[in-house]
């Protein structure tokens, strides 16, 4: 029984990171924005949920569902502001700006005690449907809830990636100037996708609060951003399935080291080892599988419209297909 609770705990945490990785894949992978601020929207989502739902003196005491919706809206508005300012910038400059915003959010959360209770934060927070499910089974139920939401995230991101919008996003990633020259609005699209992705991250923030049942600024360090990016790179940038698999593999490897029985004085060594393994995995994957565990795949245009069935194209089938798919890449 205990092992089941432990496994479902890992699944829940892995699922939370997988959702983050899928959300990051939408703007970081498919659109190619170098966004290192993901932990900022995560924190905003988590904090606004907590402040909306917790009882009177600190929060508003709203019902849980209102808290979830409210946190998504607040995260969206904030990311609209951040995106409006920073999306004019390119690559490294965008990276450092989003990073800077995330750090500012964390510092504000640690210092504005009237709002966030400072570094102590809040603890003993309620979880959804807690009263209906006995304590022992709760983690099992919660991991199911996480997996269900992950499935919705995955289907949504997959539909988005296959849509005309998805192709257009890839076009921006591959060559912004050419995309602009065929009359597409680059900045507006980036802003839309950025806000969408941040809203998704904000929603995951609620799950993180439920999982931890506490909230404090030190839960939202830049290590989370790096973990999510690592998961995405491991699995394969631009690929939703890769994002999910990368997140689960990373969390599994990190958590599996907790099984190794060692005396307490070596726990620090083990903690260091965990960082070491994550870093080594990232380096090795980049060296030997630069595309990640699963390379990015997408339906090419001619497959989508079944050109090869009608065979309007005059060239022999194979050549035409190759040329078209090369164009799509």
């Amino acid at each position: 029984m205990e092992i089941l609770v432990f496994i479902s705990g890992i699944i829940a945490l892995g699922g939370i990171y997988a959702m983050l990785a899928v959300a990051l894949n939408v703007n970081g992978g498919i659109l190619g924005l170098w966004d290192l601020g993901i932990v900022g929207y995560f924190a905003v989502g988590a904090y606004s949920y907590t402040l909306l739902t917790i009882e009177a003196p600190e929060g508003l005491g709203l019902p849980m569902i209102a808290g979830v919706i409210g946190s998504v809206i607040i995260t969206g508005l904030l990311s609209l502001f951040i995106g409006y300012i920073s999306l004019r910038l390119q690559s490294e400059y965008l990276l450092i700006t989003t990073f800077a915003f995330a750090e500012i959010i964390r510092i504000v959360a640690g210092n504005e005690e009237w709002l966030t209770n400072g570094n102590i934060g809040f603890f003993g927070l309620d979880k959804p449907f807690q009263e209906f499910i006995p304590g022992a089974n709760y983690m099992l139920f919660f991991s199911g809830l996480v997996l269900l939401t992950l499935a919705i995230f995955y289907i949504f991101a997959q539909r988005l990636a296959d849509s005309p919008m998805g192709r257009y996003m890839r076009a921006i990633r591959e060559n912004e100037i050419v995309t602009q020259s065929i009359g597409k609005k680059i900045y507006t699209t980036k802003l839309k996708v950025f806000v969408l992705s941040s809203c998704m991250v904000g929603l995951v923030g609620c799950f993180y609060v439920w999982y931890m049942s506490i909230i404090a600024p030190n839960m939202f360090t830049s290590a989370i951003t790096f973990t999510v990016w690592t998961a995405l790179v491991l699995g394969g940038i631009g690929n939703n399935r890769g994002a999910v698999i990368g997140a689960f593999v990373l969390i599994l490897v990190q958590e599996a080291t907790r099984f190794i029985p060692v005396p307490a004085e070596y726990s620090v060594v083990l903690a260091g080892l965990r960082q070491f393994i994550s870093g080594m995995m990232l380096i090795l994957v980049l060296r030997f599988l630069p595309q990640g565990l699963i390379a990015e795949k997408f339906k090419s245009v001619e497959k989508l419209f079944k050109f090869h069935d009608n065979s309007i194209i005059l060239e022999p089938k194979g050549v035409g297909k190759n040329a078209a798919s090369q164009g799509a890449e």
Binding site: S86, A100, I107, N111, T221, L273, G279, L282
Partner: protein, 284 residues
């Protein structure tokens, strides 16, 4: 007044810490996130020599700077050079992975305790009847000034320095003109890591030595380098002083814990007004 002094000291340490980062960015074209961990390595090396092996502090400092420089070059050879062809994104993530590896190893060895070098507090220097700074702080300022002058001399007067500047502008063209870019980039990694180690030691001298040093500093270093303009060394020095000063002077008005937030706000403001940084660092 004392805030200005603190600011200058912070700025001086930042100069040393960011020049190396800036040089690597300029020649290798990627943000070397692991640079922050080289600060950590330098600081703990000095701790090893000073407090464990009981070397005198000056000797410990020299040894650890050399050791960090050599280690930095080795790490670059093992981890970065083989993936150079795969593009800057791969290099960037490799450096993030390397940061984790270094952080993990150092953590496993030293554990989470906060340490200090255990230097005795030095006397204050009196100027016009008021005590303004200690000999230690004066030492930090002098060291960084010396570094800036030596580096300026190397870059403008020596053959390798000129080669470096040519390589930073256009690597292929420099190679065609017979500049040995392999040898030069080895020097860049040596200097960059050595300076990082030195900055780590100075930082630990003026404060304490803890595991998070590398992660904290890399954020500020990136801010400095971005504000200074891409890979522009003199812009970087100016930006380091500006950010150092504003971080410490701002503590008069806002709580101390907002110190780092100030640095980030400056970055955001500068990028809004001048998307390529303070000085013309050259477009992509």
């Amino acid at each position: 007044m004392e805030y200005v002094i603190y600011g200058i000291i912070t700025g001086c340490i930042l100069i040393i810490a960011s020049i190396g980062f800036s040089m690597v960015w300029k020649t290798e074209n990627f943000l070397n996130i692991a640079h922050g961990q080289m600060l950590l390595i330098g600081a703990y090396m000095a701790y090893l020599f000073k407090s464990v092996l009981n070397f005198p502090f000056a000797l410990a400092m020299i040894f650890s700077v050399i050791a960090t420089a050599v280690l930095g070059l080795l790490l670059a050879k093992v981890f970065y050079f083989p993936v150079r062809k795969s593009g800057i994104l791969v290099l960037l993530f490799t450096s993030i992975g390397l940061s984790w590896v270094i952080y993990g190893i150092v953590q496993a060895i030293v554990g989470p305790q906060i340490r200090t070098f255990g230097l005795e507090t030095s006397n204050m220097i009196e100027v016009f009847g008021s005590q303004i700074l200690s000999y230690q702080e004066l030492f930090i300022i002098l060291i960084s000034l010396a570094c800036v002058f030596v580096l300026h001399f190397i870059l403008t007067k020596t053959k390798n320095g000129k080669g470096f500047r040519a390589m930073a502008e256009n690597r292929d063209l420099a190679q065609i003109r017979g500049i040995n870019s392999k040898k030069l980039s080895n020097y860049v990694w040596l200097i960059s890591s050595g300076l990082a180690g030195l900055a780590g030691i100075l930082l630990a001298m003026s404060g304490t030595l803890n595991m998070e040093l590398g992660w904290h500093q890399i954020l500020i270093i990136m801010s400095v380098v971005i504000v200074g303009g891409m890979g522009n060394l003199y812009g970087t020095m100016l930006a380091a002083l500006i950010i150092g000063l504003s971080m410490d002077v701002s503590t008069i008005i806002v709580p101390t814990s907002y110190r780092t937030a100030i640095a980030f706000i400056i970055v955001i403001l500068v990028l809004l007004i001048r998307p390529q940084g303070l000085s013309k660092g050259g477009a992509h």
